[in-house]
């Protein structure tokens, strides 16, 4: 049961959605899949005056590929990512990530964009979108703007999205790459991440490395990326970057894992992830979806 009352609006266009949000400054929640939001409403963790259900807004369900980017609309669910040939071809890490999210019944409803809007530290989409060249497209009263994914996560459950804006899609730049998403869970099949590592290898030995669930937000480690840049992996190089993991992350101890365990496992996951991402880049790695831990 949800204890407090609110209004429910289901706009038929993006303009109408933005208009409603301007009417209720600061007291609107956008409803897409609702798998976070309805639980939060029940917990009284959020108490909006109005919910804006964007599921009837046209154009937000599309997965398209253009000359230089794969576009994923804000209503695309994790199941739709898994089932999309376009996503599998151009951004296979999204499929690998989506397959680890909760359970089928959640993935059928939950959206990837909702995941980065909830922006909990363990959000699975965070590390993966960070290691891709991702731009978040946002509509607001002043029109549309783009937010670089590196500027998106600004604090615990806080994003660059303002109260009167709605995400329309994310664009992922098309580049040759090999990648990996490694997620530590208490049991396979529906848990939040205890720790997560995303790695992508691009041509000329350019690496991107991001972490989830081991800091207030998902984040990239430029220190590790700089140490790797331009170099082929070898044992010494991997050991060098694994040695700085404990400095780079700031995990907490909670019911799901201790800080010490998260730290040690993040080191292991980075080591395995770097080798696997490089192997996948070279065409000798495992299929996407094969779990490393």
């Amino acid at each position: 049961m949800i204890a407090h009352e609110f209004d429910y609006r289901r706009p038929a266009s993006l303009g109408e959605a933005v208009g409603i949000m301007s009417e209720y400054p600061g007291s609107v929640q956008i409803l897409a899949g609702g798998t976070d939001l309805v639980a939060w409403l029940r917990d009284d963790a959020v108490a909006p005056d109005v919910l804006v259900d964007i599921k009837d807004v046209p154009g937000l369900r599309d997965i398209t590929v253009g000359d230089d980017a794969l576009s994923i609309g804000s209503l695309v669910t994790f199941t739709e990512l898994i089932e999309s040939d376009l996503v599998r071809e151009h951004a296979p890490l999204l499929v690998e990530m989506a397959e680890t999210v909760a359970s089928t019944g959640i993935r059928n409803r939950a959206t990837m964009v909702g995941n980065i809007c909830s922006a909990v530290p363990s959000c699975d989409a965070g590390p993966v979108l960070l290691v891709y060249d991702t731009t978040v497209h946002v509509a607001g009263p002043a029109g549309e703007r783009c937010v670089d994914i590196n500027d998106w996560f600004v604090g615990l459950r806080q994003t660059a999205l303002t109260d009167d804006e709605v995400v329309t899609r994310v664009d992922i730049k098309l580049r040759q790459h090999g990648g990996v998403y490694v997620k530590l869970m208490r049991y396979a099949g529906e848990d939040l991440a205890q720790a997560a590592v995303g790695v992508v290898v691009y041509p000329n030995n350019e690496y991107k490395v991001a972490f989830g669930a081991v800091a207030p937000t998902p984040f990239r480690s430029t220190r590790i990326e700089d140490a790797l840049r331009g170099k082929l992996l070898d044992e010494a190089l991997v050991a060098e970057v694994v040695a700085v993991v404990a400095d780079e992350i700031s995990p907490i101890t909670d019911m799901r894992a201790s800080a010490e365990y998260r730290t040690r496992m993040t080191e292991v996951m980075l080591e395995r992830g770097l080798w696997e991402a490089s192997a996948r880049f070279a065409g000798t790695g495992s299929d996407y979806g094969v779990r490393l831990i």
Partner: protein
């Protein structure tokens, strides 16, 4: 708000408040008790229903979101007698207390619709997030594999 939805092939028109959760409306207003109240936060799976052909957690859906959509519960699966999957589950003693059974029947039905010949891994993935505290899952998985023609591969 007025809400028009189809539940197991029957059209329903109801008044629902925005804060009414679909699970509660199905149970209390429409009288369908197979979706169970378990964790009420999407973890246990016992409130599973099929909405427009896909399983969803009805504890995480507002009733007003069901407006214009089609809902199937396990009552709607058995209209013409038990499905093949249900018969195999019965024959295999797949359940003991039965609390999770409606949800697991729906999850397995969805799987078999999209993947008629699933592997053991596929079955485990599809059923993950549907907690059963009685059986250890094996008799359930075996029945789904049999329904998919895979036996005990």
């Amino acid at each position: 708000m007025q809400l028009i939805t189809t539940v197991n092939g029957e059209d329903w028109t109801l008044d629902a408040a925005p804060a009414d959760v679909l699970l509660d409306v199905l149970r209390e207003r429409i009288g369908i008790k197979s979706p169970k109240i378990g964790c009420e936060r999407g973890d246990c799976g016992s409130c599973t229903i099929i909405m427009d052909g896909r399983t969803v957690r009805s504890c995480l859906v507002l009733a007003v979101e069901a407006d214009g959509h089609e809902i199937t519960t396990v009552e709607g699966i058995g209209y013409d007698g038990l499905s093949e999957l249900q018969r195999l589950m019965l024959g295999n003693n797949s359940f003991q207390c039965g609390f999770c059974a409606p949800a697991i029947v729906l999850a397995a039905t969805e799987l078999l619709e999209h993947n008629p010949n699933p592997s053991r891994h596929d079955v485990q993935e599809a059923l993950a997030g549907n907690l059963c505290r009685c059986t250890g899952y094996e008799p359930i998985i075996e029945a789904v594999l049999s329904a998919g023609g895979g036996g005990t591969e």
